[in-house]
Amino acid sequence: MTEEVILQVKDLKTYFHVDEGIVKAVDGVSFDLHKGETLGIVGESGSGKSVTNLSIINLIPNPPGKIAGGQVLFHDKDILKMSANEIRQIRGNKISMIFQDPMTSLNPFLKVSTQMIETIVLHQGLDKKAAKAKAIEMLKLAGIPAPEKRIDQYPHQFSGGMRQRVMIAMGLSCNPEILIADEPTSALDVTIQAQILELMKDLTKKLGTAVILITHSLGVVAGMCNTICVMYAGRVVERGRTEDIFGEPKHPYTQGLIHSVPRLDRENSERLFSIQGQPPNVIDLPDCCPFYPRCEKAMDICKKKYPTVVHSENGRAVSCWLYAEEKK
């Protein structure tokens, strides 16, 4: 990637204070995002992927959550240190976010036009009429038929897939530099999923938007992303270009994930593979590699200390004692 780096997440930590203890939902996450790049963040439920992205635009509910450390540099300015006013100018405008469940993510009591126009008016300074025209145009781009009529309808009058198209149109309406998509297709039917993903790919390429795509599906990531971050228990365990990760997964967890995908080109006689065990409860984790109880290659040192990050070429990074040992 020779494009410039527009976003740098450095050692981000987000903790939640609950009765039972401190939940370290994000515990030292770092990655870079280049202009026009599509970055995929993969992980199981509870791995911290959503919280990471909410932290980027500082939308963590406080209490009980708190961004406990790290930096998020957008064009070299730390978002986490910005005033409320400054952040609001970025949200929806330079960095846009769309969410998983379009039914609950759109206000059921306001018309779609109202919800789309307010963003455009706020960030682009157009008057209501011009804003509406722009909104209609975005809806058309998003593949909604008869957008002039439908824009005045309410969210419940759209089907699930259509609603997500509306969300995408709304998210891209101010031509942001980064679009964060938090599991945009998980709540949709499989056939619609493909359509939506295609749409996202097209539009973001057309507009030159960088995308951070959060998902638990490796298939989605393979089709859409240039780079991948694999997260586990609040940390990035492996990072790199898509072809590198799929071609040569280094971290045992990544290997397990890839192995778990059922293959159509193999014999049916094999049992389906799944990584044994469960993702950990992230309250009061001891200092160790959180994956070790499930890791086939676990060593003694894995129980005692969190592995150091090992970098290699092409932006590859992995946190595993297997490779730290090698380097030694």
Binding site: D19, G277, P280, N281, P286, P293
Partner: protein, 414 residues
């Protein structure tokens, strides 16, 4: 890992000790953290214990007999001093008032030749009725009825006559103060118009109000649960019908019907608590029915129900053995919130004279009497009113706390 000895503590994959937590233990932990709810719990328990122990306390002499009427101790203010002293104080104050009034009337007479009070003579004065205040000096005619009173030696001035009477009273009470047991009683919340101890009346009133509240709530809850469970589980047209019924009832002033029923039943039947329960329970079961139905509907398609059904469990069995225990949390919360409303309704009826009838008195009856005496003895109203309010207040906070503790995702979570 040794298998012959059972692990006393469960350990997770990181060798951290995990404590097993049941739903109720979890809820209790959360409840304990909510200070207001905890305080409310103590207050409610306190009330329950005292009202239960009331007969015991009464027989032990710790509290006065709530039925005993001692007219000479009527309308005393709350105090730690013995009743005798208070009566003496009251008499002394009255005497001073009278002496001053008489003096001012005499001064008026000296100036204008007119004494406002000597003109009146309302006949036999064997029983002097204390005048409520000054005699109206504008009524200037002086008819003298002479009367056949035994006390013709005293002046015709009723104030002077009363003064004599009160003075004798004062002497008598002072003499009796050490010997008369009634004079030695201490009424920490004062007495009512008939000389009954307010403190014990309030406690006994609490017995009745609480009993009605608990039994009534249980009854209403039972009806509501059955209605809601059947309606929710069976669904279909039965559900529709039942819910339409509930909807209609919800918007109408059913209490008005209850008032009519209770008014028409007649005094004899009204004494029966059963009728009272039934009447109020009829108004109160609606919310619980709705809530239980909601829970059942959301649970009835869960897997454990499917499992039970696949094992051949009958419908009543599924409802009562499987679904209802899971709705217990919601039922407990709403029952706790139902009770204060039940007591409110009962006291409303008692206030109108349609609830508990004499000689039993609930808080509502006491407040009703207190309202009548409000002007001159405010404590008769404030005592039972505050006692009742504190209890209802605590029940409400407790119910809120229970709701938060049992369902952390619920709407009221802060």
């Amino acid at each position: 890992m040794s298998d012959n000895k059972k692990e006393t503590q469960a350990v997770n994959e990181f060798n951290q000790v995990m404590k097993p937590v049941s739903l109720w233990a979890d809820a209790w932990k959360r409840l304990r953290k909510n200070r207001m709810a905890l305080v409310s719990l103590y207050i409610v328990s306190f009330y329950i214990i005292i009202t239960l122990a009331a007969p015991l306390l009464s027989s032990m002499g710790v509290i006065h007999d709530y039925k005993e009427q001692i007219l000479s101790n009527a309308s005393l203010a709350p105090s730690f001093k013995p009743a005798g002293a208070l009566v003496v104080a009251k008499l002394e104050k009255r005497i001073v008032d009278l002496e001053e009034t008489i003096k001012s009337h005499q001064a008026l007479e000296a100036e204008t030749g007119y004494n406002p009070s000597s003109g009146f003579n309302f006949g036999p004065t064997a029983e002097v009725v204390p005048t409520e205040g000054e005699v109206d000096p504008n009524q200037s005619f002086s008819l003298n009825f002479g009367g056949t009173g035994t006390d013709t030696t005293a002046s015709a001035d009723p104030l002077a006559r009363e003064l004599e009477f009160q003075k004798t009273e004062l002497e008598r009470v002072k003499a009796e103060m050490e010997t008369n047991p009634s004079a030695k009683k201490v009424y920490i919340l004062g007495t009512d118009d008939l000389g009954r101890d307010m403190f014990s009346r309030i406690i006994y009133g609490g017995r009745i109000s609480l009993a009605i509240g608990i039994v009534g709530t249980l009854t209403a809850a039972l009806v509501g649960i059955i209605f809601g469970a059947v309606s929710g589980y069976i669904g279909g047209w039965l559900d529709n019908l039942m819910m339409r019924f509930v909807d209609i009832m919800y918007g109408l002033p059913y209490m008005l019907m209850v008032i009519i029923i209770m008014a028409m039943i007649g005094e004899k039947a009204r004494g029966s608590f059963v009728i009272l329960f039934i009447a109020i329970a009829l108004v109160s079961w609606l919310t619980i029915a709705r809530v239980v139905r909601g829970q059942i509907i959301s649970l009835k398609n869960s897997e454990f129900v499917e499992a039970a059904r696949s094992m051949g469990a009958s419908v009543p069995r599924i409802i009562f053995r499987h679904l209802l225990p899971n709705t217990l949390g919601v039922i407990v919360v709403f029952s706790t919130l139902l009770m204060p409303s039940f007591i409110m309704n009962e006291s409303f009826l008692s206030f109108l004279g349609l609830g508990v009838s004499a000689p039993d008195a609930s808080w509502g009856t006491l407040v009703s009497e207190g309202v009548k005496a409000m002007e001159y003895s405010t404590w008769q109203l404030l005592g039972p009113a505050i006692a009742m309010t504190i209890f209802l207040f605590s029940m409400n906070f407790l119910g809120d706390g229970l709701r938060d503790a049992l369902d952390p995702q619920s709407k009221n979570r802060t």
